[in-house]
C-alpha cells in the first residue's frame, strides 16, 4: 500500500527506528494528466502496480496515458532558498519557502525523445518520479498517488556538443516543495523494474507506389531510425480489423475490405469500399492503425500510428 515504509508515527515525534527512507538519485519519471491516479488497489502490491503502470503506458486515450521517461543521467538542482527577512535587531525569520527547480539531462532517446517531450511544454502535465532504488514517489491524495502539480514543465532546447561535453537534451521541473514533502506519497517497488515500463512508439504510415483508388499502398515505419516494421508484423497487420479509415472532412468511418502484406512494396495494400457512403471519391481520407489496445490484443505491442492523410483527386 502507499507509504507502507514503517516510519515513526506522525505528529512531530522525533524518535526514529532502525531504518529510514532516503530518496536516492532520481532516474526516471512518468508524465501523467491531472486526472491520472494510482488507486489504493493499484498500490496494493508490486503485481497490481506493475499491471496498472503497463495499462497506463498503453492506454488508448492520451488523457489517461502515462508517458515513461527513463535513464536520467544527472540533476541540476537550482532549488531556490526560502525567503528570509532579517529584522533590525538581528533576528531573522523564513517568510516564504523555496521552490524546487530541477533539470534532468537524458541521453537515451536523444532528439526524438526531446521532440516528443516538447509537446508537453505549456501543458498541465504532471510527473510521478522514481529513484535508483525503485521508490516511486509523487503527490499523495488520500490513499492514492497522483502526478505532482507543477509550476512548469519545460523540455529545453538542446545544447550542442562543445568538444568537452556531449550534446545536452534535458527537461526542467519547477514545483512547490510541499507536494513532495508534507504531501509526499511513495511506493517502494521490489519485484520489478520501473524502467521496464516502456512508452509507445509512433508508427508513421507513408503512401508508396502508384495509387489506384480505392486501393492504397503504404509502408509502416517506427522510431527515430524509421525502421520498417514489415518483417516484424507483416502477418499480424495483414488484417482489416487492425486498420481504420475515415473521411477526414466528415469523420465518417470507411469500410476497409482487405489488407494484404505486400512483399512487392515491403508494406501493405489497403483496399477500401468505394461504395461506402463515407468514402470520398474526391477528398481526403485518414488512414491509421487500430487503437493501441486492439493492436496489443493482436500481438502488435508498444505501437500507436500517426494518421496518414490520403488525398483522392478526380
Amino acid at each position: 500500500m502507499i507509504n507502507s515504509f514503517k516510519c515513526s508515527a506522525a505528529g512531530g515525534n522525533t524518535g526514529v527506528d532502525d531504518c529510514s527512507l532516503q530518496i536516492s538519485k532520481i532516474v526516471g519519471f512518468f508524465l501523467v494528466s491531472k486526472n491520472f491516479v494510482l488507486s489504493a488497489a493499484d498500490l496494493a502490491s508490486d503485481a497490481t502496480l506493475q499491471a496498472a503502470l503497463i495499462a497506463a503506458a498503453n492506454a488508448d486515450s492520451k488523457a489517461l496515458r502515462a508517458f515513461p521517461v527513463h535513464q536520467l543521467v544527472d540533476i541540476a538542482d537550482n532549488t531556490t532558498d526560502p525567503t528570509e527577512q532579517t529584522f533590525g535587531y538581528g533576528p531573522s525569520v523564513i517568510v516564504a519557502g523555496g521552490m524546487y527547480n530541477w533539470t534532468f539531462p537524458f541521453l537515451r532517446g536523444g532528439l526524438c525523445l526531446l521532440k516528443a517531450l516538447k509537446t508537453f511544454n505549456n501543458t498541465d502535465t504532471r510527473p510521478i518520479f522514481y529513484d535508483s532504488n525503485g521508490t516511486l514517489f509523487g503527490w499523495k491524495v488520500g490513499d492514492t498517488l497522483k502526478g505532482v502539480p507543477l509550476n512548469q514543465f519545460y523540455a529545453n532546447d538542446w545544447r550542442p556538443n562543445t568538444g568537452a561535453a556531449t550534446m545536452v537534451t534535458s527537461v526542467k521541473f519547477t514545483l512547490n516543495p510541499r507536494y513532495l514533502n508534507e504531501e509526499l506519497g511513495f511506493y517502494k517497488v521490489t519485484d520489478f523494474s520501473l524502467e521496464s515500463i516502456e512508452g509507445l512508439q509512433n508508427v508513421v504510415l507513408k503512401q508508396t507506389g502508384v495509387q489506384a483508388k480505392p486501393v492504397y499502398k503504404v509502408t509502416a515505419a517506427v522510431g527515430c531510425s524509421a525502421a520498417n516494421i514489415f518483417d516484424q508484423y507483416s502477418v499480424e497487420l495483414a488484417a482489416a480489423a487492425l486498420w481504420r479509415a475515415k473521411n477526414k472532412a466528415t469523420g465518417a468511418a470507411i469500410t476497409i475490405t482487405s489488407v494484404a502484406a505486400d512483399a512487392n512494396i515491403f508494406g501493405f495494400t489497403v483496399t477500401l469500399d468505394s461504395s461506402d457512403t463515407g468514402y470520398p471519391a474526391v477528398g481526403s481520407i485518414e488512414l491509421s492503425l487500430a487503437p493501441v489496445s486492439v493492436l496489443k490484443a493482436a500481438g502488435v505491442t508498444g505501437l500507436e500510428s500517426v494518421p496518414l492523410t490520403i488525398v483522392n483527386v478526380a
Binding site: 489506384a212 507483416s234 495483414a238 475490405t257 494484404a260 502484406a261 495494400t269 483496399t271
Partner: protein, 58 residues
C-alpha cells in the same frame, strides 16, 4: 511479380457483399491472385451432409 504474402479480408463485408461483388471488388487490387479460392475460404461451398437418405443411397 511476387504475390502478396497474406491477405486479411474483411469477412463480414465479404459475406454481405456476396461472391460476385467480392470478385469484382478485388480483381484489380490482387491481379492474378486466386480470388475464387479466397472466396471459398470465406464462404465454403455447400457439402452433401450425411443424412440417412444419403447413407441409404450408398
Amino acid at each position: 511479380m511476387k504475390q502478396p504474402l497474406v491477405i486479411g479480408f474483411n469477412r463480414e463485408w465479404a459475406l454481405n457483399a456476396g461472391k460476385e461483388k467480392f470478385l469484382k471488388h478485388f480483381k484489380d487490387a490482387y491481379p492474378g491472385h486466386d480470388l475464387e479460392a479466397e472466396w471459398d475460404k470465406i464462404s465454403p461451398p455447400n457439402k452433401k451432409v450425411n443424412t440417412p437418405a444419403v447413407e441409404a443411397e450408398k
